[in-house]
């Protein structure tokens, strides 16, 4: 295909700026002392330090996974800074107005106003900058309904029992290499607790920003929805452009009790590296939801457009009878990006249901793989899964792969899998052009059409943004 289709996919990354701010960092490298230092800096309860040390010792015995369909030079874990916090943030802030104006400016520039006057009307935001939470909006308002929404560091101080009860119950410390690493060194993240029979009065969101070029980012998010409660949670991420790679290894754990529902949406736009594949974030993330209760529901929606490497499988463990797991994903790769992403749906309880809709778009020299596991356990009477994995190729130097794994141990369970691969071809674009539609508009219509099933699942604020983001990312692929 002509260079023209290619050029439409390449759009300068507009979040690539750096904020100049004094930081409190620790020396590079990882050791038991570093783990202790992080815990001490955060003044954590004893159980947390024990948790971290167990994870660290476990990590030492593990090896980086080799099975993903991605290639990258070996990561030197001793050359990473494991803690970096803006200095001004060292003391606890009484109110948002005390937040360093440089920080507020940074988030404003990213489209996330935190100041009292400008904040988003119906979304509470927890803003995380490098290793720490800068500010959480609407905390008091949420507290009126009993909803706890704060940084996980704060939760460890204010609600240690809740954190101790749930942390690591969905993603155990030794779950995988990156999960063990995160469990040892995670610095901050968000904590959400929705009490019984409570519908969270507004959408909650966390915005992650990596700023420091040497530091890794290891966040930990924990959301607990008690019986009969529900919450919608959004997550966004960006990073500056550096020509080195930064490591991002996060964990998200969700717990839904009887009749509870959690909708978790992500728009991931970490720096993806330049057009020659230099720089970009290594995004190794473990996200898992536990449908612990009957009739509970966990729904993951993700729009993955950034990162040099994405390794991410938001999953659902369907333990409660009649519980529902959903995974809706759009993964776009361009230039030299590599994505190995998908989901795991583990059916344990009776009549559990799961839906997987995955849309992969690959352009330029990128590599985009869907990897998904559907497992029907021996007690999953009447369980059902429907999976649909569609790939779209732009140009002829990109690749798309689908790796479905299906394990069925119950004869009454049903599993359906559909897959398709299509290509935006010059003829399709010519057809649009012949009707007066420019190549840019044509590609964006084709892509939004392709992604419609997923975008429909995003909260409104995100759907428009996601559509725009994909259009931007794909600008100049055609001409």
């Amino acid at each position: 295909m002509s260079a023209s289709v290619q050029s439409l996919v390449s759009q300068p990354y507009k979040y690539g700026f750096t904020t100049n701010i004094e930081v409190d960092t620790i020396p590079r490298g990882l050791s038991e002392d570093v783990v202790r230092m992080i815990s001490a800096k955060k003044n954590e309860p004893e159980f947390m330090l024990e948790f971290r040390l167990r994870a660290y010792r476990k990590w030492l015995t593990m090896a980086e996974p080799a099975w993903p369909n991605v290639k990258y030079p070996p990561i030197d874990y001793q050359n990473i800074v494991y803690y970096s916090a803006p200095k001004t943030q060292a003391k606890k802030l009484g109110s948002l107005d005390e937040v360093d104006p440089t920080m507020l400016e940074t988030f404003e520039k990213l489209g996330i106003p935190l100041s009292e006057q400008k904040r988003l009307a119906n979304v509470a935001v927890d803003a995380i900058f490098d290793s720490v939470s800068i500010a959480t909006t609407f905390k008091e308002k949420l507290a009126e309904s009993g909803v706890i929404f704060c940084s996980i560091s704060e939760a460890l101080q204010e609600h240690p029992d809740l954190v101790e009860k749930y942390l690591g119950t969905v993603v155990p410390i030794g779950d995988n290499y990156f999960a063990a690493l995160n469990s040892a060194v995670f610095s901050d993240g968000s904590f959400v607790y929705i009490p019984k029979d409570t519908q969270c009065p507004m959408d909650l969101s966390t915005y992650f920003r990596i700023n420091n070029g040497e530091s890794g980012q290891f966040e930990r998010t924990l959301i607990v929805a008690e019986s009969g409660s529900s919450v919608t949670y959004l997550e966004g991420c960006t990073a500056p452009m550096y020509d080195s790679n930064q490591l991002h290894a996060a964990i998200v754990e969700l717990v839904a009790m009887d009749n509870a529902s959690i909708n978790y949406s992500t728009v991931q736009n970490w720096f993806a590296g330049d057009e020659n594949g230099k720089g970009g974030i290594y995004n190794f993330v473990t996200k898992r939801g536990l449908c612990a209760g009957k009739n509970s529901k966990i729904s993951w929606t993700q729009v993955e457009t950034g990162s040099a490497i994405t390794w991410k499988y938001p999953s659902c463990v369907l333990v409660g009878d009649n519980s529902v797991g959903e995974f809706y994903s759009v993964a776009l790769t361009n230039n030299h990006q590599q994505a190995d992403t998908g989901t795991k749906m583990v059916h344990v309880g009776k009549n559990t249901r799961s839906t997987i809709i995955s849309k992969g778009i690959s352009a330029a020299k990128s590599k985009n793989s869907y990897r998904g596991l559907v497992k029907m356990g021996p007690k999953a009477e009447g369980a059902r899964n429907y999976s649909q994995c569609d790939s779209m190729l732009i140009g002829d130097t990109s690749s798309a792969n689908t790796f479905p794994y299906i394990q069925v141990q119950n004869s009454t369970a049903q599993v359906e899998h559909e897959a398709s691969t299509s290509k935006i071809g010059e003829d399709q674009l010519f057809y649009f052009a012949q009707r007066g539609i420019s190549p840019e508009d044509a590609v964006s219509m084709i892509i939004s059409g392709f992604c419609r099933d997923v975008f429909n699942k995003l909260p409104m604020e995100f759907a428009a943004e996601a559509d725009k983001l994909l259009a931007l990312k794909l600008e100049n692929t055609v001409g």
């Binding site: 002509s2 052009a433 012949q434 009707r435 007066g436 539609i437 420019s438 508009d441 219509m445 059409g449």
Partner: protein, 262 residues
């Protein structure tokens, strides 16, 4: 309808074009005036479809010599989508399927692109819906077609009717119908032809590319051209098509080879 004083819509001189380095058009000449209907006939491989794609600006075709003027503009200077908005419409022989994009959205975006090019405001979804409902009658299409993805799962006849629906909506100055009759049963053929006749006025022109006479029973051409080896080798009136139908092409080709006019 021939009117020698009407505006020249399309003027093609000594046009040569390559695809993948092979010359397909080898000195084609054609002049089309407002109000006229032209039929271009010829054997497979004579360059008919290539000509239609060159007019519309398909990127795979490289013009190596000659000129094309469309309503006084140098057409070769224009990008494909600008050619479309300035009034060239190609009804595709094989209309493309666009999964996930509803026919209604596609038509509206196309229509608004034309309006924008004319310096007019885009129209909103409600006004557009009223407009498109009216146009559906031209090709006797059911409104349910609007909510399906563009051409996806359409039968051959439905695809062709959808092309004519687009023509009805965009009201081009020059419509090129590339084998629109192929794959149509007789009822569909009548519907499509009826649509084209309704849309044909003294201000626009139609070029029909076809293998067969049968379409020309319903859309009566003012001129019939025979193409062979990348050129128009002979031109006649509507009777030429009938003669080709009964005698085949060989006699025209032979006449061309020996330099005798048919």
């Amino acid at each position: 309808m021939i009117n020698e004083n009407s505006e020249i819509i399309l003027s093609v001189r000594d046009l040569r074009a390559n695809v993948d380095g092979t010359e397909i058009l080898k000195g084609l000449n054609l002049e089309v005036r407002a109000g006229e209907i032209h039929a271009i006939m010829g054997l497979n491989g004579s360059g008919k479809s290539t000509f239609s794609k060159v007019l519309a600006g398909h990127p795979d075709y490289e013009v190596t010599a000659g000129e094309i003027h469309f309503k006084g503009q140098d057409l070769l200077e224009l990008e494909p989508h600008d050619r479309a908005t300035s009034g060239i419409f190609l009804a595709f022989q094989y209309p493309l399927e666009i999964p996930g994009v509803s026919n209604r959205d596609f038509l509206r975006v196309a229509f608004n692109a034309h309006r924008k090019a004319r310096g007019e405001d885009e129209i909103d979804v409600f006004d557009f819906d009223d407009l498109i409902e009216e146009k559906l009658n031209v090709v006797k299409m059911d409104a349910s077609f609007l909510d399906r993805s563009v051409n996806e799962g359409f039968s051959g006849g439905e695809k062709k009717r959808n092309e004519i629906l687009q023509m009805a909506l965009l009201e081009p100055a020059l419509a090129i119908l590339d084998e629109t009759d192929s794959g149509l049963d007789i009822d569909a053929l009548k519907t499509v032809a009826g649509g084209v006749n309704q849309l044909s006025t003294s201000d626009n022109a139609v070029v029909l590319i076809t293998h067969y006479q049968r379409m020309l029973d319903y859309i009566v051409p003012d001129y019939v051209h025979v193409m062979a080896d990348g050129r128009i080798i002979t031109t006649g009136g509507k009777d030429l098509a009938k003669e080709l139908e009964s005698r085949g092409y060989e006699w025209v080709l032979e006449a061309d080879r020996t330099g005798v006019t048919a």
